[in-house]
Structures are given as C-alpha cells and as structure tokens.
Symmetry: C2
Subunit: 220 residues, 2 copies
C-alpha cells in the first residue's frame, strides 16, 4: 500500500482515538494538508479496498483491516522513535520527524528486529504505546491529563501526546520528559491553567499543554 493510503488510515485512527475531532473527510483533509475533495476521493477508493466504511456526508469508519493497517504503521513509527532516541539521543521532535518518513519503508521483518533489539518495549519515548506485531496495543488506563490533577500531589509524566515542535522545545527546556516527576502546586480552574514544580522551577501551563501531558499518580 502507498504512503498516501497509510497516512490516510493512520489519520483516521488517530482522530478516532482522540475523539475531539471526528473522522469526516474534512478533518482528515486538514490533518493531512490536502483538499477536502482529495480526502473524499481517497475515502471512496479505500472503501472499495475494504479498509474503511464510507457513506456520503458521514464520518469515516475504519474496518478491522483498516485498523490493522493503521496500527502496523503506528507500530513502525513508534519503534523507530524508540530506536533513534536510544541510539542517537535525538530530541522528541527530531525522532518524530524522521519516523514519519521511515515508517512507510519498513518491512515487518525489520520492525520485528528493531523491537527485539529494544527488548520489545511497550512504550515509545513520548510514552505512547507501541502496538505489537499482532496489532495489539496496551491502553494506559490509570494515566490522566495534567488538567485533571490535584493540587499538592506528585505525579510521574507518562505521556507527551503531541507532534508539535514548539511543545517539544518547551518540554526540553523545562525538563518535561517521559518518566520525570512533577508536583502540582496550583490549579487555576477559572483560566484552565496549571502551575507545577519540576526541577525546582515553577512553571505555569495553559490549557493547550495540560491536555496533552498525561501523568500517573506517584506511589510515594
């Protein structure tokens, strides 16, 4: 299957998961940077390949086959991120950028070799779960968005759910990294902002950021 198709099913899968956006052609088009017309065309084509269900004016729904393809691409993406991060100490933004290209030119054989080499990791350096070779994915049920945390409690960063360079630069600058711990010092509920202490620095995060940073309650 082509790069365009792989990116299309991946975009649907992700929009479906986030369910902030829906999976109508227009939203997929926006995500991929193509015209609405191109997205409708592609949707029809993929319906004929049994990768998704298309009904006029309705949201697109991946079939089992389409979901499997999406998870396979996501698996390769996240394995590459994990490998590049480990070997070359590249930034979260850089590993994402490279993985976005490599994911489409990676055989299942090579993906398995990478996974094996890394000890079959369940999460990538963003904390995103890596689907296994059978398309099974670990869902993190006990992690919550930073916006839902409580003042005075300590948490461990479990996921930085973004593709955005500016966000990653901010994270790098402030020590916001998968596995690091932070203390929530204040929730400004009115303004939907959160103040945290991390590495002895106090920083205030706005809504955009508190909804893509996920954390687990610290056990101590």
């Amino acid at each position: 299957m082509s790069v365009a198709i792989e990116n299309f099913v991946k975009a649907i899968y992700k929009n479906d998961k986030n369910n902030t956006n829906d999976t109508k052609p227009g939203n997929i088009a926006k995500k991929l940077g193509i015209s609405n017309a191109a997205a409708t065309d592609m949707a029809k084509k993929l319906a004929s390949k049994n990768l998704l269900k298309y009904e006029k004016y309705q949201a697109l729904q991946l079939t089992d086959e389409g979901t499997k393809m999406a998870l396979n691409v996501i698996r390769k993406h996240r394995l590459w991120e994990a490998l590049l991060f480990k070997l070359f100490d590249m930034s979260l933004h850089e590993i994402h950028r490279e993985a976005e290209l490599l994911e489409h030119e990676t055989s299942n054989f090579l993906a398995d070799r990478i996974s094996e080499y890394l000890g079959n990791p369940k999460f990538d350096p963003h904390g995103d779960p890596i689907p296994n070779a059978h398309g099974e994915i670990t869902t993190i049920d006990n992690s919550i968005a930073l916006s839902n945390t409580q003042e005075g409690k300590t948490y461990i960063i479990s996921r930085l759910m973004s593709d955005d360079k500016e966000f990653f630069d901010f994270c790098a600058l402030n020590g916001l990294k998968y596995g690091n711990s932070l203390l929530v010092t204040k929730q400004f509920n009115k303004n939907k902002m959160t103040q945290i202490t991390i590495n002895n620095n106090n920083i205030v995060l706005n809504e955009d950021f508190t909804n893509i940073i996920y954390v687990n309650e610290s056990s101590y």
Copy 2:
C-alpha cells in the same frame, strides 16, 4: 527529489563505475526494471533539471550535481547497511533489501547521526566505500578481483560487489565474508574458474563470482 529520480541517477552512477555496462537509456531501464521508453522520458526530464546530459542515442552522463545526488543516496544506503548489520546481525542480502527502501527517506541529518554512531566508517559490510557527507569517496586502489589472483597466495576479502541473493547465500554458506582470508589453490585459466581454500574447505568459483569478489594481498 523523488524515489524514481534518486534510483535513476544511482543506476547511472553505478553502470558508469562498473563500465562493463554503459549508461545508455536501455541499460538503465534494464537495471531499474522499467521500459526503455520510460528511461528516455526520465532522461529528458533530468537533463532539464541539470542532473545529467542527454543527447539523442548517446550514453547518459551525470553532471556534477547528478553525481552528488547519486553519492548522497549511496552514502545513505551503505550507512543503513552498516547500521543494520551491526545492530541486528542481518544477512548481506537482508541489509541490502532494507537499505534499498530506507535510503530514500533518510535526511542528511539522520545520515550524519548514523555515521557518527558507527565511528564514521569508510566501508560497509560488503566492503563498498561509504561516501562522506561532502560526497567524497575512498577508492580502494590495491584490491583486485579474485580472477586476477595468483596460485599459492593468501588474500583478504575486501569487497563482495553484488546485490544478488543467490551470491550472498553462497557466501554465507562458505564463509566468504568481508575481512576473512582465503588461499588461492588453483587458477583454471581456460575455464576462467578459481579454486580457493577457506575455513579448511576447497571451493571452486566460476567466472561470475571471481569477478565480483575483490581481495587484498595478505601481509603475512
């Protein structure tokens, strides 16, 4: 530039080096598995991009720019081969197959990271020279084809110049590996065959193989 273009200039570069084949459109077409018509079309297009010189019915000649592009792709190919070989212990055939895809989706930035990680190697696991970031390539001047070796002398394998699975399978089976040493026991000049001893086994190689296996004289 597209995958098709990168593969096209790479094919010209390689046919030019081997100079057994020439670089007329038909030979490039055969190498790439496309029609002659497609090769002519592409040649015209690349001439307009100043990547090569095209004159009707003549051999194609890469410009400096075209040569630079070819070397850049070859650099990425060989760096990937070196990395995959080191990390995953894949066979020569497997690393070639994967590198053939990855080479086109690798930024210069990532290529430099791979090179750095490997200690800026000058040769890949086939013994092929890896161009550096400036497109400079080390030429091995003291290595000779196995067909030109002398009976009774010991040599070190310096290059296995092929893309062919059958050849690599044969090499793997018989211990023909970059860096290994072998003894030339007999040259059958009439039949253009060579008998060698390697790992205490005597094997006879035909012309196809003795011209793609390169060796250096052993110093002891």
